[in-house]
Symmetry: C2
Subunit: 663 residues, 2 copies
Amino acid sequence: MSLDPARLEPMATAIRALSMDAVQAANSGHPGMPMGMADVAAVLFSKHLKFDPTAPDWADRDRFILSAGHGSMLIYSLLHLTGYAAPTMEDIRNFRQLGSPCAGHPENFLLDAVECTTGPLGQGLAMGVGMAMAERHLNATFGNDLVDHRTWVVAGDGCLMEGVNHEAIGIAGHLNLGRLKVLWDDNNITIDGGTDLSTSEDIRARYRATGWHVVDCDGHDFADIERALDEAAATDLPTLVACKTIIGKGAPNKQGTSATHGAPLGPEEIAAARDVLAWDHDPFIIPDRILEDWRATAQRGKDARAQWTSRLEESDHRAEFERRMAGDLPNDIYPDGFFAGLYAEPQKVATRKASQIALEALNPILPETIGGSADLTGSNNTKTAGMEAFSADVPGNRYLYYGIREFGMAAAMNGMALHGGVIPYGGTFMVFTDYARGAIRLSALQQARVIYVMTHDSIGLGEDGPTHQPIEHLQSLRAMPNLLVMRPADVVETAECWEIALRQADRPTVLALSRQGLPQLRLEDKGENLSKRGGYRLKAATSERRVILIATGSETHLAMECAARLEEQGIGTDVVSMVCTQLFDEQDEAYREDVLPNVGPKRILRVSIEAGTTFGWDRYTMLNGMRIGIDTFGASAPAGELFEKFGFTVDAIVPQITNKLNA
Amino acid sequence: MSLDPARLEPMATAIRALSMDAVQAANSGHPGMPMGMADVAAVLFSKHLKFDPTAPDWADRDRFILSAGHGSMLIYSLLHLTGYAAPTMEDIRNFRQLGSPCAGHPENFLLDAVECTTGPLGQGLAMGVGMAMAERHLNATFGNDLVDHRTWVVAGDGCLMEGVNHEAIGIAGHLNLGRLKVLWDDNNITIDGGTDLSTSEDIRARYRATGWHVVDCDGHDFADIERALDEAAATDLPTLVACKTIIGKGAPNKQGTSATHGAPLGPEEIAAARDVLAWDHDPFIIPDRILEDWRATAQRGKDARAQWTSRLEESDHRAEFERRMAGDLPNDIYPDGFFAGLYAEPQKVATRKASQIALEALNPILPETIGGSADLTGSNNTKTAGMEAFSADVPGNRYLYYGIREFGMAAAMNGMALHGGVIPYGGTFMVFTDYARGAIRLSALQQARVIYVMTHDSIGLGEDGPTHQPIEHLQSLRAMPNLLVMRPADVVETAECWEIALRQADRPTVLALSRQGLPQLRLEDKGENLSKRGGYRLKAATSERRVILIATGSETHLAMECAARLEEQGIGTDVVSMVCTQLFDEQDEAYREDVLPNVGPKRILRVSIEAGTTFGWDRYTMLNGMRIGIDTFGASAPAGELFEKFGFTVDAIVPQITNKLNA
């Protein structure tokens, strides 16, 4: 079946008109990209994209990702024209205005049909890799009847230059994600001008080098686009479709230049474009005939969904499939007696090892978990018994060897989480959250259930030295909205944290875990997950309370030892295990006041103990409290010597406290 | 001239022996890489590397970078064997121990001859790109007589997978950095196992796709290595030398496996290796004959330096060349009357524009500055009059179009700063510090004078929405050791900040600059750079002081307006412009106490005002003070509406303050 160019042309023009008019009305935005890719989008939606506007959450829909998120008017136009409930034309009129779901960049939390938030370049494509991974994994698990769809990505030159893109396409090539199709808006323009200002890369050769199929087309020739997309759809390799386009196509004086990239065209140029495009309709007016043609593109998807629904209804896997796609967890995710076992035989283990103990229990009960590591499997302890490598041949396996690609891993995990049906977790060293930070932020912004297993979380990693020792990382992550940072103190808290993290349907978690062994501090079953409160009194003062030690993770046992010494001196001391400041801050005032009574430092001295920057701890210690931490870079030496050098010993800490009390 | 394999063999064996023995003694470390690359290193140092151990800071030395920094025993061995004053054999015996300059990873601040700190993978190679850029730039400026050297990088599979590497090699290919030579330790092994677990990339094709020359060799065949390095040295393209090696070569039972990567070989395997290698010397003992052969490799460099020194002495450029390599600035870096001009005609400009005003004045006086942007030139305002594109053909130009490569830009700037002779500054949006954070941390750790021009530093960027609006970024950067974060409030403070940043020889600076126009608040010449103190009283209370408003950047004028309203109500109010918390914290107690008297919130209420997270502001407001900020993600709308939505107006703030005072 060949498409009719005479129908496609006005459909594409509708996108161009909406895009230039909406950007003009907002007096800000990016008309060039949607105008350049309008023709390609018209073909994609007319012939290939499998979607049903009445069911944006249909599990087996194709995923469409606008990685070049600044061209957001492309996706808003497409969603409106094809008949999604949102955005409405009123929403489009309010493009980039407060309250409109048509934000400057597409936001997955504002529009159901926006698969992921894009704008930070390269990450849309990388999330597409994750979605394609989830698809192949679920296909292997549930079969063609339930899971059989493609991931289509529109990417620009900016996406292709970003490092995360290179990591992502390397993963896609290695896993041979044949359902992933990237449409490259090859317009030779970036913000600064021609791409020849900054790059000489042979993009085609670069993709081929990592196992991709590449096909070219003239992005303004409907027949040629159709041929290329047909070829892309037919091949079983991840595919780059290089669409040679003219940025701002249709704006007669500005097209082909960076002037169309990120600014309104202006009334004169828009008038000239209307002439060239033979578009004599008022802004935001789409003739019925064109709208009908657009709405008709959804019919293939509607039919497909009807058939799919029948298959689902007949499937033996229905309940489990629906549970997984809904992201629901069973009531009990640990086996019976798991915690009782921990209490029965207290153990001294690194929390990274404790994390593995938890995962060994959780993974068999939760088939939706997909583990992995950026080449630190044996250090992060992310692989549990029976987990085998997710590979091109066996995508049903549950363990990812991401390679030395932290950012790519994190972005792929975002894609998997947003696809649904799987819960990804992945590891690297805490210090390398710096490499993945752009994606961690998108986990938080997109409300994605991604679990970061960040081990070696302090100078306790020892000899590798300052490049590998996090100092500012815990606090700099705690400063990020909608992200839980949990730093458990022992094997029990670690297991509690895993349960909390897995049950956060709408936010990601960073688990900060020690390299070094830590004694078990929780020895008694209290019948509840104490870590849920974020911070709790691990030990109460036995004499009049004069000190509260607030500690996290590997410093909690040190706090307990300091408290014992202080109590010996008659100084009543609480120890608060501050597992997660964000959860603690969410508790009601009465609880927080009970744990940290606001009586002033003269009455009760508060002391934070964490082997990282003291920055930000004033909130819990008060300004006149004490903060035991490290405000310089670390050093290379065995961990024990480093803790001593940086003052993390009972002998170093207790006298500071007693001096302060006596001052 | 061909090298004699019979001499090279024991020289390489000395590296292997030192590496396995030092790792064993430390009981931690990475023997596999130095043992695998020992043969290649022996050839490189014997024939090509231009170095003089008696002058590690010789300006025209070749730069040698161990990008695979975990293999640090390779560089420690080489530096010791070739005769550098440090490390001594005692230092090597103390590998990875507290106080030894032979840290787990090579640290540029511990050993003069370590060009840059490596360990975070990919960044060594990317810094090599920056060093090669500096070399070509200085060559164009000072000629072949003074600047004519190569940059040699040893990189592993991990380096090559990292996104930053892809960005960096794209820059190198585009700029045709023919003096850059990368020796790839092609051993097919990563920590998790074989590289085939995680990658299927055709590395050679990938490098060729971006304009590199590629040559292969057997990394254990001296003649073949020599041939390949000769070819690499002769070609005028950036070159990848793919050295096929066996990781841990010489350890008979473990070589070729990941077991040699990151753990001691153990006494038995070391004994077996001594047999295989025919090395019957005690640990840390190098026979004189072998040491002599190693020391002899330095002769070429010593001769070259002698000739170079003669040329320098005769050069007309000597004084300027030496000034630039020393990193010394003139006493006056602004033209006469620059500040007087600012006071004479107060202006309302965005601080990003103010930054350009400063740069327009500074750049003609400081030929060492090299500007650039990651494809946001017109937004970051980093390009000044007369600056033209640094290109393959004209490397003497001073402006870099880095492309959409934030991390690569930052790492390249580190390389340039460490090379010396240039002072790099580069821009992107503040939110994308997330992409570059790994390199920003290395700027700080390496004490490198790099200036980050981070514009669009708040919700004030408006319509682009939450993906582009920094929230946690200012504070998360302030948490990093040895990094100045400066957020100037107006055109005067911005000019002051530029001077402060340029004069920080030992630390990097992030300039946080507004998109939106800001009124000039500094209207009077006080005869000194007030921003130097980090925070200062911009306005003193006119009635009894009851409130101190502590504001930064674009919120400072708002603080001034709030203060005016409060004073109208008889509430004496100071305004402190907190340009840089780190510099403020470095002031003596008397100064800090004067600006922020520690009298308790009942007497004087402290209020911070910054359009970012409140996290960490408690340090300045005290717990019972007030923090006006944003602890959620932003939104897409015009800036004015966002400031209103998020409560950044006089009408929103003042009643909160008066309520608190009356509570």
